[in-house]
Symmetry: C2
Subunit: 430 residues, 2 copies
Amino acid sequence: MTHNGDIPSRPSRRGFLAGAAGGLAAAGAGFAAGAATPTPPADLPTAPADTEPFWGPHQGGILTAPQSHSYFAAFDLHAKKREDVTDLLRRWTAAAARLANGLTAAALELDPTAPEKDSGEALGLKPARLTVTFGFGPGLFEKDGKDRYGLAARRPAALAELPRFNGDQLQPDRSGGDLSVQACADDPQVAFHAVRQLARLAYGVADIRWAQTGFSADLGAKQTPRNLMGFKDGTGNPDINDAKAVNRLIWVGDEGPDWMRGGSYLVTRRIRIALEHWDRMKLGFQEQTIGRHKYSGAPIGLKDEYATLPLDATDKDGNPVIAENAHVRLAAAASNDGAQVLRRGYSYNDGVNFTAERRPPWRQGMAYDAGLFFICYQRDPRTGFVKIFERMAKFDMLNQFVTHTGTGLFACPAGAADGAFIGHRLFESV
Amino acid sequence: MTHNGDIPSRPSRRGFLAGAAGGLAAAGAGFAAGAATPTPPADLPTAPADTEPFWGPHQGGILTAPQSHSYFAAFDLHAKKREDVTDLLRRWTAAAARLANGLTAAALELDPTAPEKDSGEALGLKPARLTVTFGFGPGLFEKDGKDRYGLAARRPAALAELPRFNGDQLQPDRSGGDLSVQACADDPQVAFHAVRQLARLAYGVADIRWAQTGFSADLGAKQTPRNLMGFKDGTGNPDINDAKAVNRLIWVGDEGPDWMRGGSYLVTRRIRIALEHWDRMKLGFQEQTIGRHKYSGAPIGLKDEYATLPLDATDKDGNPVIAENAHVRLAAAASNDGAQVLRRGYSYNDGVNFTAERRPPWRQGMAYDAGLFFICYQRDPRTGFVKIFERMAKFDMLNQFVTHTGTGLFACPAGAADGAFIGHRLFESV
């Protein structure tokens, strides 16, 4: 009654169900309690639509045009030996490549006497431009002073623990992790499905430590999406079509260990925003705080969203047009010796909980646990996020509305060629 | 420097930004720190795409073809007098009608010296088929033994507190509420934005008590979406195109109070699913538990998803093909004297937390806080959800994988004609 595992070896999520009706008829399953309905494979589309490439010199999900949904999971490693870690990375890579291609994590076996290797909730859904991006946290190299996998000597200097920043209210259960997996897709169910299959492949070796959903307003590629503060967010990002800028700011080069060349460092910050407080602020104050006009996204006093920030401009009284502690001034490359990161964050919305505001009017009550799941990529966090954020954490006017409740730091290795596994050069060169 | 409130009185979310560039040029804002950039209104599209009607005999979001995202919020009322409640409902109705039409909650005033009345994060987004559905919880009629708004005598008998069900693990901060607002849209930012504007209109009168996000796999109207268990969910729903069935099962008729005629009762259940446990089950066992085949969605032993459940069929040994405690058998109208509800639930994914399973293998560790935000509509909960679920809560094989952690019960009144407010007949007839 069941097909061999190799027959439906490459059903597409889209094609799978399309072939189901005919297959059932052919199988002619009668009233046989306990038998699973077999379903034959559909023909594999040779060039599935809505797919992002998985194999290549760089991992997907970094320069990829942002998808509308994200599911991020950080894992604690429990593996006793290095081979368990490399086996996991092999399984993860193979499964992620299938998933990105719109397939199930493994071929369905249709055997009623065994658990299926894919949980099935993405059957019939489009590939939805799924990308899966893997990262290595400090704990892969050393944890609690132990060199668990013989990798401590290979920890890149750039993977240095982030300092404590002014105002941090970090929660351990939203921070850290030895491994990271981020699934981005234009369908939240596709993103969740991907992380779920990978987490299952990690049973006994690694457990999810924390996870975070995210979404982005879908305005098409030509408009900058607005964050939950109502402002356009991402205008000042490096141009990902400028290969020179990308190589200078995002990809690790010759300065890095071999396995990180073509990779990038990922910093995550879960930033809760006091939206109720923000909503009570005058429009002019909001704009002064950000340093941009709300509706156009242009720097204060200007008309074009993409105009150069007039950091030296003053008004008739000699005061700076963009305040000294405006968010965009402190974040700008020009204020940070040229330092820039690639922001690729998502808004998050985790309901409400009881909260006491840290600042006047010290409102207490139910408040949104919503804001920004900030994600950035850079060639070196020490000259990227850390350099930029140290001053922002102290002076940014925006700080009265935001609280950093989670943090993460991961080395995302280069991409893999078909047949290799993500990060293999770290392990094979030991 | 600012427009009057009446000029941009009906900017569309879509059209608003389209007109921004030209408007900035015309306004000619110089370097004037503190002044907000004015933005002129765009022409209002006469028939905006992607909109669902707001005004009408029934509220939207009940029979509406399910959107891909949902944001549900339950509110505690703090209003001292009835007029504060009716004023809130007036404000909510007016804002919801604008939002459903792709507009800001109120006309933007573009006054830098005042807070804007809309938080702005939906500017430029499509209407996304937004619906806003309002409900009245038992606490509107009576709370802690107090008849706060002189409505106790008008509480419908059908709005009777749900009984305690077998296995309930209800959390107060995910349950109850005096008012409910559900925003459904094909864009999560549009749904969040809608609830946020309404919550803001309730400051001082009502606070969000709990909130829940949800998403649904988007398969197009012709396929039944799969839930996180990987099974098609919704096959057995009443046909919403069958006016007779809809009137019999969903809309309150002559038996109800005047203000509920054309309305419906809403039951919410936040159902956490032990997905890790479920994923370890054999395919055949999963199918026996549900009573349907996983891939086709057909009843066990059959080929067509929409085939009548063969509740009387037996196998060659005389055992029922669909197990006595299979989910579909216990849920079926045929097993419940014809009782049926309209399910309109969404999957939810709230990350992970530490969990001890209630059943073998008593696994402890980080587990998904994910599952189903079950939502159903019915003419009378006593003969709908309560009747069906009482037996399911005791016998359903699925119970070993699911835990109800939240509950809600709301009377969703009839829709309103343009100019009236939702629920007005409840208050005006007192």
